[in-house]
């Protein structure tokens, strides 16, 4: 069973507002991933970290999205100016390795942008 913790579970924002969500990876997992899952069950990879360093991120993430994984603090994903199309389930996963390894997912933060 996954021990990845995500907060809050639900987030409601108005368009243009900031939305911030947090993730505590499993203890000892240096690799953290953020995915967006829309209502059609489509997953979109957003960004991943190894320790505090960004490994990969998509273009979308570079514009309005920002993320960090500081040492000894929860990882976070923030949307600077929320849009209706950002409404989705945001999933955090952690892993021991970034290559061919199990990703352990948290329950997600469901964001609704009105």
């Amino acid at each position: 069973n996954s021990k990845v913790i995500q907060t809050p579970r639900y987030l409601v924002k108005g368009q243009g507002q900031k939305a911030k969500m947090r993730c505590i990876p499993e203890k000892g997992h240096p690799v953290v991933f953020w995915y967006q899952q829309n209502k059609n069950n489509e997953f979109k990879f957003l960004i991943n970290f190894q320790n505090q360093e960004v490994l990969q991120q998509i273009d979308m993430t570079e514009k309005r999205f920002s993320a960090e994984c500081p040492s000894n603090s929860p990882c976070s994903l923030e949307i600077q100016s929320s849009e209706a199309g950002d409404s989705a389930l945001y999933l955090c996963a952690s892993s021991l390795s970034r290559v061919q390894d199990t990703q352990y997912f948290g329950p997600g933060t469901r964001l609704l942008v009105l």
Partner: protein, 110 residues
Amino acid sequence: SQLAEENSWALSVHEGESVTVNCSYKTSITALQWYRQKSGKGPAQLILIRSNEREKRNGRLRATLDTSSQSSSLSITATRCEDTAVYFCATDILGYKLTFGTGTSLLVDP
């Protein structure tokens, strides 16, 4: 277009029956993983099968991988109501992210 996709949108079986979910993918892979997502939860991995493996088992679950046809299957025997979930295949292409299919919704009736 999806790099990985399950071949059925939804399946329904009675408890105790067997069921197979199929997946096809479009690129060379290093590994393929099967995940299950129950309502209100994040995905949970069921099986990871590497590109040099043809079959992998985990209890009542059996996954196969055919790299020549770029397809995989997940079979569940003796299904239980708690197997009701959405099943995803996910390909590990470059080693830094998973590419998920859109899932097959499985309903197991009592």
